[in-house]
Symmetry: C2
């Protein structure tokens, strides 16, 4: 089983997960929609190659773990964390650790061997986002957990080890550093101004427009002022809402359209651009007026390297104003 | 000119440096010691392709910016920061920024087109480390700066855009987050125990030995307890010292031997392993009893991806105990 360990100097947690070293490596040539490989565990017909499904959107007359699904969620076969009882911490001298309790699932985003997410239909995007919400809602019932992160690694440069479109859900027994910093900042802004900083950012960027990618009835896509990565794009609901997983069906359909538009635009600028994305939603105990859920799309065209690891400061060679202009003009 | 921008939510700084987008891309096939390319700006004879040198170790009868050097330091041709007057901050509503004032230099580590650092001689390692120290000492004279980071990107997966062995020095007008967290932790340990946490770690790891790679007269190489990356290795001086750049000649020679041993061992496990390293030395104003300079070697065999960007928590599939055992047994 894996283990959380805390750096005794910086306080930073890591997950030591040796079982993940035996993951298969199954990456096709970039941009290539390879034919459904017999060896791809995520292709329809190969359901036996994954752990049993925990959720699926499938035709009503089909059996679990057989073809007939559109989106399928399974426990990660090489989990970084496992849902095994309570979490517990210990300290060995000045070295703190916790058992690797948590949840690690994989959302398989197409029954077909698609490797570039932008090739999926709007209906498929809707089904995927619906699956994300369903899993987060289900796992939020469990009082042991504190943080839920949906994330995607698309392309080998973005950390994917399997090419077939998929994303992941990790549930943690604590609120991790990036989320803590973000929540503390949003809270500070709320206490100082009485407003939500994300609402203020949306208002300003829609007025100023230089970092705006597009605005639809329900969503805004923009390149953030202090973007860490070239072409980094955030999608935010215009209506203030702290929890992604409470989004209604109309919002999910509108988000699907916005997310697909960003993917298609990004692909138009850099073909088969590798990228990560994350969905940031409020932890359960968070006061709701200061937090605003959103998606962060993080292209990995250049890499974080020694400078970033050493300082925590990112060098980004694409000004977000330039990125937004290119993305605005790219066809959706 | 580039610009520092602060994320108004998390407080995280980034450097927006559009000029860096025009960098040339010159990466040879992995592991291949390609012949000195006429197009490589770092090869001896091509000195005119770089900005003028600011430091070099060279034969006494040779001219600056001509062949005859062993190690050569130049200003980065595509600098993330520039040494242009005072730094100054401003705030545009809730968006803080600073001009991109600082220093960005390149240390060219061999006159020959070597791409794998482990192929360099011990004498060459000594000359490189001597160059690092000379540049940091010179730039520490300047009262405008607060933090000095030597770092290396070796291999395309580790963020290098030029294959010829080199490293970089960035000087910042503030102490960045990773360094602040580390210094605060070291200070906290000192206040609580009266001891240096790095000295305590060295003592414990040398006794326990399961994460020790090797111990020499002056240095210790170990895999840290909460390693972020597979095969992450730290090299620490056994004698308590806060400032790398004040190391005496005997220490530099001993460090060269230790660093070369780690490089050779790492290469023995993963041929041409891509890696970053950083040298962590105390900022000028730091009280000296709590801080202990060291090198962190950060192999990039798997990648930071969506989970890491979303949480700040790293997943590492190589337990440091296993990494240390493999590194211990690998030939130096």
């Amino acid at each position: 089983m894996s283990e959380f360990r805390q750096n005794p100097i910086t306080g930073r947690w890591v997950i030591i997960a040796p079982a993940r070293a035996s993951r298969p490596w199954h990456i096709d040539a970039p941009g290539n929609q390879a034919p459904a490989a017999e060896t791809c565990p995520f292709c329809a017909g190969n359901e036996v190659m994954t752990p049993p499904e925990v959720w699926a959107q499938r035709d009503s007359n089909t059996e679990p773990n057989s073809p007939g699904w559109r989106v399928r969620v399974v426990t990660n076969k090489y989990p970084a964390l496992e849902d095994t009882g309570e979490w517990s911490g210990k300290k060995d001298g000045f070295y703190p650790s916790m058992n690797g309790a948590g949840v690690h699932e994989v959302i398989i985003e197409s029954p077909d061997h698609v490797v570039n997410m932008s090739a999926l239909s709007r209906e498929q995007f809707t089904a995927i986002l619906h699956g994300y919400g369903a899993r987060v809602r289900a796992l939020k019932q469990d009082q042991r957990w504190r943080y839920w992160l949906i994330y995607k690694n698309n392309g080998e440069r973005a950390g994917a080890t399997l090419a077939h479109v998929h994303s992941q859900l990790v549930v943690l027994p604590f609120v991790p550093r990036e989320a803590r910093d973000e929540i503390a900042g949003a809270r500070g802004h709320f206490q100082a101004t009485g407003g939500c900083i994300y609402c203020d950012i949306i208002r300003r960027e829609c007025e100023q427009r230089e970092r705006l990618v597009f605005e639809s009835e329900r969503f805004v896509a923009l390149c953030p002022y202090a973007a860490r990565f070239g072409y980094e794009t955030w999608i935010l609901p215009k209506h203030h809402a702290p929890h992604f997983e409470q989004s209604a069906g109309l919002d999910i359909a509108a988000l699907a359209e916005s997310l697909r538009a960003v993917m298609v635009k990004l692909n138009g600028i850099v073909a088969s651009a590798p990228f990560n994305y994350v969905i940031r939603s409020a932890p359960a105990e968070e006061p709701t007026e200061a937090y605003h859920w959103h998606m962060e799309i993080l292209p990995q065209i250049t890499r974080a390297a020694g400078f970033e690891w050493g300082t925590g400061v990112h060098m980004n060679s694409v000004a977000p104003e330039d990125a937004a202009q290119l993305l605005r003009n790219a066809p959706a």
